[in-house]
Symmetry: C2
Subunit: 353 residues, 2 copies
């Protein structure tokens, strides 16, 4: 089953001879003629650029900055396609966002495919097109890659690893260690949509209000904050473990406490309804297009003004502040009680990214 | 079963409480407290460095060069451990070697783990120790990483993705496009050991002469050639598909032919015996510590003199030359006939790297 994923800007017909190869077979990963055919017909035309076309063991690019940001993530999301996106779009957004959170402009990406024998070739083709489209929208390029195929039953359709490099544009470090008592904690939008979208696709649950992933590249938003000269102390995207886990990690790394206010945290009706139905807490649900910003309180309103210029951050708001306390994240609930939020000790929603 | 892998320079006792977690469970990948415990107890102490200790979404490093090399590979080798190495040592060597083949000094690595639920914790610990040890020997650092766990039956023990970046030291491009008629083709040592070692471990075959992988970092050898001022036109490590596939790809990319001489190509007795027994061609067997060098014929003897200073390249020799012909790799056999070598159309030895 495939979900609406927005228009694809590339011809949809799969360029591999589908009559011969309706599914990926082991030989597509053996490094011989069939691997070459897969790469030359399905990957290079979509992700075309000079570095990739060299078809060497690695890519060589000019690099004009003194500080380099470098990140990696493996994507093992199940199912591969879900409302509003797929594993390919997720990989590009996740990588670009991790670089943005380092204060860097994302530039070059790598693409490592681990394909399970039997993956339908048209599924792979849709995913590669999404990667190409998301790269073009985010103005980044896949410059190097690798394709492996594993036996049926030894994988799960497709795993993607994506690494990325970029030039750091922030002159001051962006690090949990710079978080100070009195700093404002901002959130770039409503939470929980990615996790609920994936869950609905996985379990075939139809919620009253359909929920699409929030998956989106955030670097233009983050760079706008930096280019405005704001003294961002720390940024963190709210992926696996959601808002609560990200903020708990920041309290641990910074040695300060954070207080947040439940009433200030935007949650869509669709996510709220799904969470109530399933007994889940939206604070712990994964997002792929939301981030927290920690900066001096005096700069909060300027930051919010910039954030709200971007469609993906229109619901930005201040949700809390950094307080003098030896670590710990406290939620002031809508009924006025105070609840300590911890890292989850075990799995909540596995394989959400 | 674990194979001799040389001494480990790190204490062997696994730091996770094995009574509680003899195997990796899904929660180790859920992004919560158990993921943190796995990373803090098993990974950070072995791969320790400042960038990794930041524990951020990515790493930020100083970078002092104008050209950046960037590479990625996923390692899906089966079995995870084999004579002379394991998937961890393989990942570091493979990544370092791909950067070296671009004329770069390897510097920073990423480590993406995709663990199948049920992987014995001590196996993971041995592999992580190997990664640390190989990094120290190769003078590179893992600066960023990611850990995912997939359900039992949806993976195969462990897949590793490793990407790497490095500063390009070669002032002239190293590319198949610079290959010229008359160039010498050098080989850095005997071929086929990695593939045969993995095959013997996988099938439980004991050959007359035990064969260990040739897996080794090659960057110091490659950099020595460049630093001596030799005009290397192209270098290629001889991994998946072996010597023959690598050279066929170079003929395709350069538009020239290559002639090689079977009698000149070193093959150990162990590899030769195993290949005869199994009906395999050593020219197509994967290596993880061998590379081909293509450079002006007048510089071949200087290059060989430098190569032979390194233990891993003592058997270096010239095996052929670039000839005026519209592509194609021709082997002059030991009986004097000429045989055209092509890319294999299907799998030979799958999951060898």
């Amino acid at each position: 089953m495939s979900w609406p994923q927005g228009p694809l800007d590339f011809p949809i017909a799969c360029p591999l001879p589908l009559r011969d190869y309706p599914e990926i077979v082991m030989a597509h990963g053996a490094g011989g003629a069939m691997t070459l055919e897969l790469i030359e017909k399905m990957i290079l035309p979509v992700l075309t650029n000079d570095a990739l076309a060299e078809n060497h063991d690695g890519a060589v690019m000019d690099f004009r900055a003194k500080r380099l940001a470098f990140t990696t993530d493996s994507y093992v999301i199940h199912p591969l396609e879900f409302p509003g996106g797929n594993i390919g779009r997720l990989a590009v957004c996740g990588t670009v966002n991790d670089l943005a959170m380092c204060g860097a402009r994302p530039q070059h990406l790598s693409l490592g495919l681990i394909i399970e024998e039997g993956l339908p070739t048209p599924t792979l083709w849709r995913i590669i097109q999404s990667i190409g489209q998301t790269c073009r929208a985010a103005q980044v390029q896949v410059v190097t890659g690798d394709t492996k195929v594993v036996d049926r039953g030894k994988g799960d359709g497709l795993f993607i690893n994506m690494s990325g490099v970029g030039a750091v544009v922030s002159s001051r470090p962006i690090s949990p260690k710079r978080i100070k008592v009195g700093d404002a904690v901002l959130l770039s939008g409503d939470i929980g949509r990615h996790g609920i979208a994936v869950l609905s696709a996985r379990e075939g649950i139809g919620f009253e209000t359909a929920v699409s992933t929030d998956c989106a590249p955030l670097h233009n938003i983050a760079l706008a904050l930096l280019e405005a000269g704001l003294d961002i102390h720390c940024m963190r995207d709210l992926t696996r473990g959601g808002l609560a886990s990200a903020l708990v990690e920041l309290t641990m790394a910074s040695g300060n406490g954070i207080d947040i206010c439940e009433a200030a945290i935007p949650v869509s009706n669709g996510v709220r309804g799904a969470c109530e139905l399933l007994g889940l807490d939206p604070l712990y649900i994964a997002n792929e297009g939301r981030f927290a910003i920690i900066l001096p309180a005096a700069q909060a309103s300027s930051a919010l003004e910039i954030l709200r210029r971007f469609p993906a951050a229109q619901q930005s708001c201040q949700i809390g502040e950094v307080v003098k306390r030896d670590g710990g994240l406290i939620l002031e609930t809508i009924v006025g009680s105070r609840r300590q939020l911890d890292l989850l000790s075990a799995e909540h929603l596995p394989r959400i990214c």
